[in-house]
């Protein structure tokens, strides 16, 4: 019958494919370690150099398996959905705007992790059980194109208030708070700075011609004058580290971050409740605050280390200034109000 040929075909195709997918796996098997594997669940921005991953496997005796997908928000929600049967042993990449949701749902096990100098500055307020270990931090700040302002003969803005000044009309582009994590961070900045009056601030901002995009890439690469594309707007929402990437090769950089407009994002690692390999998970969490990972963070993930005195890349040390007194919102308050704030924000910005 017809089905016979179809089955035959299927089998032929099946054999062809098994060999295909098999090749990748065989290589992995060869590096299997005696101590078993540790599975790290993380978001798609996670990158660590091969030699750092190899260093972990050598020091701990565990094989490291990385499963990365989605952004910080979808990572957190995945962890919540799979909390009864986690997909790994360690999660990295839950940040301080999502951490409270993960803690409330009991995603992580407590762990009295070692705290190298500096780490405790970034611990999550309200995390009594030490479920989360800070690994890196970065600030979401308004960035300006200094060369543009110099050419135009206008003084660049400095504060949140300046952004609503008609001098800077139609010059600001930023990603939406509803669809992007830096966008949400900036919304929190304005909430910290303006209190209950934040919707009025946003109304002024929109009246002054601020442009919303869906994500960071669209804003920075598409609309910013110093981005990859041919953008027209010299003010953009980005990170405190961004000026290190617009170095002009003549000892300067063409952009700078406005340090009075910053909100600190901290990313955490934690041992997942119900982990198959809790021992290995703890070893990996320790390793994340170790010197190898900390030193690799700026180049690999564009964030600052949390451990004091970790050497920074040259461009970072020179051009990436960190704010001394960034804005902050209590994570518990974020967890409680996020949905309301976002709904209100959408009403104000879409008018």
């Amino acid at each position: 019958m017809k089905s016979i040929s179809a089955v035959l075909l299927t089998c032929a195709f099946a054999t062809a494919s098994c060999s295909l997918i098999g090749t990748g796996d065989d290589e992995e098997r060869a590096t299997a370690q005696a101590g078993g594997e540790v599975v790290l669940v993380t978001h798609e921005s996670f990158v660590l150099p091969d030699e750092v991953q190899a260093a972990f496997e050598e020091q701990s005796g565990y094989e490291l398996v990385v499963r990365a997908s989605g952004d910080a928000g979808s990572l957190t929600n995945k962890l919540v959905l799979t909390k009864d049967d986690p997909t790994g042993d360690v999660a990295f990449g839950v940040d301080n705007t999502f951490a409270s949701r993960a803690l409330e749902e009991g995603v992580f096990d407590g762990y009295e992790h070692p705290t190298p100098a500096g780490v405790s500055d970034f611990e999550l307020p309200g995390d009594e059980e030490h479920a989360l270990t800070p690994v890196d931090n970065g600030n979401v700040c308004v960035n300006v194109d200094d060369t543009w302002f110099e050419t135009e003969g206008i003084a660049p803005p400095e504060t949140l208030e300046d952004l609503t000044d008609p001098t800077y009309e139609d010059l600001f582009v930023l990603p939406s708070a509803a669809t992007s994590s830096p966008g949400l961070a900036f919304l929190l900045t304005t909430i910290a700075a303006k209190g209950d009056a934040w919707p009025d601030y946003w109304a002024d901002l929109m009246d002054n011609g601020a442009l919303l995009t869906s994500g960071w890439s669209e804003a920075y690469q598409g609309d910013f004058t110093q981005g990859g594309g041919e953008g027209e707007r010299p003010i953009v929402l980005s990170y405190d580290s961004s000026p290190a990437f617009t170095v002009d090769g003549e000892g300067g950089t063409s952009t700078s971050a406005l340090l009075d407009t910053c909100f600190t994002q901290v990313e955490y690692a934690g041992v997942l409740a119900g982990a198959a390999n809790p021992e290995g998970a703890r070893a990996l969490v320790d390793f994340m605050t170790g010197p190898e990972v900390q030193a690799a963070l700026p180049d690999s993930m564009y964030v600052f280390p949390v451990v004091d005195d970790t050497p920074l890349p040259e461009d970072w040390a020179t051009f990436a200034q960190q704010p001394t007194d960034p804005w902050a919102v209590d994570p518990a308050e974020v967890a409680a109000n996020r949905d309301d704030w976002l709904t209100q924000w959408r009403d104000v910005t879409t008018g």
């Binding site: 195709f13 796996d25 921005s45 929600n77 959905l81 139609d170 919303l212 690999s300």
Partner: protein, 547 residues
């Protein structure tokens, strides 16, 4: 044949595809919807119903319907003349143009978004129109991505249309306009309607275009489900909208199924050979040229961008593709991602192909009763459903339903190609079904009466007709898999990212080199796709893409 053997054959053919779709589609999606109805373990449908009465839900549904509707009408309007020119006229580079028009179909939306906005944005050559971030930009983007579907589907039908009725009408004194309206258009109607319904599905469920080009001011059902699921974890809300989406898709498929009548295979038709363009074709040629420009300009913007480093022309962006990015943005070089993409696409293709072949065989066997025909019709529609479900729902559904033996598959490397195969499956089925429908059953009967066994009959009757469409369908599946991003991004494992995932990552990091590499990698992806499609074009399958 015995009466019981027909249903058994149908069952045997359909069994594997139905089980696969059941496990990898129905189970995960219903798992997520169930979480919405049972938020804390207790049945609470009130919340779901509540969402349906929110004013915002109404706005979102309305925006989805009208933007997809307008985009579909436009895609048909620009696709018809192009289908005529590319399938009825003969001129140099015709096949190359056809292949090129399919390229947008696979490009990552974030890259196309940047290219589009360089045109429409404040500084762009079309910036004076003030279209950036408006629904007009969204609709233009949807047409950009979907015009090729209309061209292929309607063009295939036009190509194989019997030329004699039109000639007869002309001989009887009908003007060209009258011939078109009274003869050509009615016989094209099934192809137009079913192409339009698929385009409408693609538009209504498009995610990246609405987000990237709409500047977040507009929400479609698809983007709303994504936000509710991945950001707010509002599962009742997501469940409500998923159900709305599924119901709409089922209704649409039912309508399309009714209007999608196949031509009777026992009638001998004399298709017209493509001819040289004449003066009277000028209008259609101009319209096609405009469409080509509309598709080409964003692509050329990409190409130009990829060839620039600073203010100078350079190939450095392409040379950098073998590295991991200027600031180690990547774990694996882009070339390696291309290999991963090709491998994954190969796996997705054979999966989509074998499943699609089984489905096509099952639904095209001659039905002996109304009930049997109905079962086959429902099966046909069932395999179109993956088009109508959000990647977020499917991706999260995998995590919560495929987590325990015997279905502990959520970390399987096969999951990515499988998800892509589900996306490509409808395209494969819609390519193969018309071909199998077009085989005169009397040929098989003749083979049988001459003593051929069932297998022999398949080899001598079906296979000679089927092998080209099979190759063509594999090209389609391959291209669809190469460009797939939504489901892949949810599942991709870090050690083996595919090319669209890598492009997304490159463009998401500062540094001029990363941006240049993202553009260069997009050009490589586009070129690979164009090559695959050009190879498919060489097979000259008349019914390719006859949806």
């Amino acid at each position: 044949m015995n009466t019981w053997r027909r249903p058994v054959t149908l069952l045997a053919l359909a069994l594997v595809p139905v089980v696969v779709l059941g496990v990898f589609f129905v189970l995960p999606v219903s798992g997520m919807v169930a979480r919405g109805f049972w938020p804390d373990g207790a049945f609470a449908p009130g919340e779901v119903l509540d969402v349906l009465t929110r004013p915002r839900t109404g706005r979102v549904v309305w925006f989805t319907v009208w933007s997809a509707g307008v985009a579909t009408l436009l895609a048909v309007a620009v696709g018809l003349p192009a289908a005529y020119v590319l399938h009825r006229l003969d001129f140099p580079l015709r096949r190359a143009v056809r292949a090129a028009l399919l390229v947008p179909f696979v490009l990552p939306t974030v890259v196309v978004g940047v290219a589009f906005r360089q045109l429409l944005g404040e500084a762009g050559p079309l910036g004076f129109l003030g279209l950036d971030g408006t629904p007009v930009a969204i609709v233009a983007g949807l047409v950009f991505f979907n015009a090729a579907v209309v061209i292929r589907a309607v063009g295939a039908s036009w190509e194989s249309m019997d030329a004699r009725p039109a000639e007869a009408a002309a001989a009887l004194g009908a003007s060209p306009r009258q011939v078109f309206l009274t003869v050509t258009l009615p016989s094209l109607r099934p192809a137009i309607v079913s192409a339009a319904s698929v385009v409408f599905l693609f538009c209504a469920t498009s995610f990246g275009v609405v987000l990237t080009l709409g500047g977040t001011r507009y929400s479609s059902v698809e983007t709303e489900i994504y936000l509710l699921t991945t950001d707010l974890l509002d599962l009742p809300g997501a469940a409500a909208l998923s159900i709305v989406q599924l119901v709409a898709v089922v209704v649409l498929l039912a309508i399309a199924g009714r209007l999608r009548a196949s031509a009777d295979p026992s009638i001998v038709r004399v298709p017209a050979r493509p001819r040289r363009p004449r003066r009277s074709d000028l209008g259609q040629l101009v319209a096609t040229g405009l469409l080509l420009a509309f598709v080409a300009v964003p692509l050329l913007t990409l190409l130009a961008g990829s060839l620039q480093v600073g203010d100078a022309w350079s190939l450095d962006n392409y040379r950098a593709l073998t590295t991991t990015g200027s600031e180690q943005a990547l774990l694996a070089p882009v070339t390696e991602a291309l290999v991963t993409s090709l491998r994954t696409a190969l796996d997705a293709s054979w999966m989509a192909l074998s499943l699609g072949l089984l489905v096509a065989l099952a639904v095209t066997r001659r039905s002996r009763s109304r009930a049997e025909r109905r079962v086959r019709g429902v099966l046909d529609g069932f395999f179109m459903l993956p088009l109508g479900v959000s990647a977020a729902t499917l991706g999260f559904g995998f995590l919560i339903t495929l987590d325990s033996p015997p279905l502990d598959l959520r970390d399987s490397p096969l999951l990515v190609p499988l998800a892509q195969a589900l996306v490509a499956l409808p395209l494969v089925v819609r390519t193969l079904v018309p071909v199998l429908d077009g085989i005169d059953d009397r040929q098989r009967q003749a083979a049988a009466s001459l003593g051929a066994g069932p297998l022999r009959a398949v080899v001598t009757v079906d296979l000679p007709v089927l092998w080209k469409p099979l190759l063509a369908a594999s090209g389609f599946a391959f291209a669809a898999s190469l460009g797939e991003f939504g489901a892949t991004a949810f599942l991709a494992r870090d050690d083996h990212p595919t090319l669209p995932v890598v492009i997304f990552r490159l463009i998401g990091h500062p540094g001029a080199m990363n941006y240049g590499m993202a553009l260069a990698a997009s050009v490589v992806l586009a070129a690979t796709t164009a090559l695959v499609m050009a190879a498919v074009e060489r097979l000259r399958v008349p019914s390719l893409g006859a949806i």
